[in-house]
């Protein structure tokens, strides 16, 4: 059973539909105690890191996510749910969850042709083998919508990269946590396969 974190992030239903399609049982929850006991967690997100953090705090979900992370529960962050796993973000003065060391920076392309937000299909280059990424082939494209991108402090936390003016980490991970900057639930068969692998992942990287 996968628990999908509900903090009015917008895409929790899309994530649930994708899991339904794969035949993976899931439930959407905003109950922090339920989350701590969850077998597996998807932490989705759309919109702003600032309002996301505010709602997480109000519902006690920030602490629940930290507890779950500490006890080894496999966690998949998506988009804003990836960004707020880092230490901080240029989008907000609030501290983020600090489950993976690093910052989120805003795209500031020199080239006027590169519009912000970065929106559309872009390629994924896997840099480090990971069970959740085992079906990703070189050049596979996924769907992005974001103005900020994660910069982990430790290079070893970068699992895959993409390029938009700068090269940025599009999948990050540490121990039982893996997180994608793109919308796994809207990235066609490539994203669905990632979700399917996450549903089987035991939280160990090798």
């Amino acid at each position: 059973m996968i628990h999908i974190v509900d903090y009015d992030a917008g895409n929790q239903t899309s994530v649930k539909r994708a899991l339904d399609h794969l035949g993976v049982a899931s439930v959407i929850t905003s109950d922090s105690e339920e989350l701590v006991r969850a077998e597996r967690i998807v932490f989705p997100g759309v919109g702003h890191a600032h309002s996301a953090l505010e709602t997480l705090r109000e519902r006690g979900l920030d602490k629940a996510l930290k507890s779950a992370a500490g006890q080894g529960t496999p966690i998949l962050g998506i988009c804003v749910g990836c960004q707020v796993l880092l230490t901080g973000s240029e989008e907000t003065d609030l501290p983020c969850l600090d489950l993976i060391g690093g910052q989120c920076l805003r795209f500031r392309p020199d080239d006027d042709a590169l519009k912000v937000p970065h929106m559309g299909w872009n390629a994924l280059e896997v840099g480090r083998e990971h069970p959740v990424l085992r079906h990703v082939r070189p050049g596979d494209e996924v769907y992005f919508v974001h103005a900020y991108y994660p910069v982990p402090g430790d290079e070893r936390d970068v699992l895959a990269r993409s390029r938009y003016g700068v090269e940025f980490a599009s999948v990050i991970g540490r121990r039982n946590i893996v997180a994608a900057q793109f919308h796994v639930e809207k990235s066609g068969p490539v994203g669905l396969k990632m979700l399917g692998e996450f549903a089987r992942w035991d939280g160990h990287t090798c």
């Binding site: 917008g10 239903t13 899309s14 539909r17 994708a18 339904d20 399609h21 759309v46 919109g47 006027d112 519009k115 937000p117 970065h118 929106m119 559309g120 299909w121 872009n122 390629a123 494209e141 769907y143 919508v145 390029r163 938009y164 919308h183 639930e185 809207k186 990235s187 066609g188 068969p189 994203g191 669905l192």
Partner: protein
């Protein structure tokens, strides 16, 4: 680098897929959900549904269609037609769409663009513009915004409206040429280029796509980030694969799935 997007537009009336040629004489061509699933499986990048249902009491059918598409299709899609307020937008977004297309309602009430952008983010708001060449010199850009499938002229300059739409919070613009729509003779490149050169948000070329080379022209000479197709796919003249392969072979960055 982002790939150029291939988007298909599905016109839906009373829950059925229809194709309008120059917006009159609509023909029933099937079930929108199965068409959407077929295009998704074929590797299409994005879908647009325009609800052209005439009577407002039938609008609930569209929400059912959106929900069913969202259960079967795992690429982004937008919904337009009949959306008058942020609340209307919320209904289709909650049903599973990523974006809303605002057209006629935004012409009458430009504030709806800002309301929707504030509530859902600029990435969720697409300004769809129906445009006709104004040969009489009445428009500074030479193009006028029209509504109701071209039957109503608005007196608004197309380029002016595109810039204003971006300032109000639109995250993307569909440039739909009423003159080219349904002709299958190619996109209105001059118009598309003019808009693309003057806004900082993605531009989607629409109206007139009949052959893969038309899309190539729209994505290069026309300066568009994405191209919208309808008949050339719906009637089986071309497949998603054959269009994408053509664009890829000519050097454009395209998402290939096979």
């Amino acid at each position: 680098m982002l790939s150029k997007r291939l988007i298909s537009c599905l016109d839906v009336r009373d829950g059925r897929l229809v194709k309008s040629v120059r917006f009159v004489d609509t023909k029933d061509i099937g079930d929108p959900v199965s068409a959407a699933r077929r295009y998704y499986e074929a590797g299409l990048d994005e879908l647009v549904f325009y609800d052209i249902t005439a009577s407002s009491d039938q609008r609930g059918i569209m929400i059912d269609v959106v929900e069913e598409v969202a259960r079967q299709v795992f690429i982004p899609f937008s919904v337009g037609g009949g959306l008058r307020s942020a609340d209307d937008c919320r209904k289709v977004l909650e049903a599973g769409a990523e974006k809303v297309n605002l057209n006629t309602a935004a012409v009458g009430n430009p504030g709806v663009i800002t309301e929707a952008a504030d509530a859902f983010g600029v990435q969720a708001v697409v300004l769809s513009m129906d445009i006709r060449a104004a040969g009489d010199g009445s428009m500074p850009s030479g193009y006028e915004i029209v509504t109701h499938g071209g039957r109503h002229a608005t007196g608004m300059d197309a380029l002016e409206w595109a810039r204003r739409g971006e300032a109000l919070g639109a995250g993307e613009i569909v440039v739909n040429s009423i003159d080219a729509d349904g002709t299958l003779e190619g996109y209105e490149l001059k118009l598309t280029r003019m808009i693309a050169d003057n806004v900082g948000i993605p531009v989607i070329a629409s109206g007139g796509g009949g052959r893969p080379e038309h899309l190539y022209d729209a994505l290069t000479e026309g300066g568009a980030d994405a191209a919208l197709v309808a008949s050339m796919l719906h009637y089986g003249h071309y497949s998603v694969d054959s269009i994408k392969q053509h664009l890829h072979d000519r050097g454009l960055k395209i998402r290939l799935t096979h």
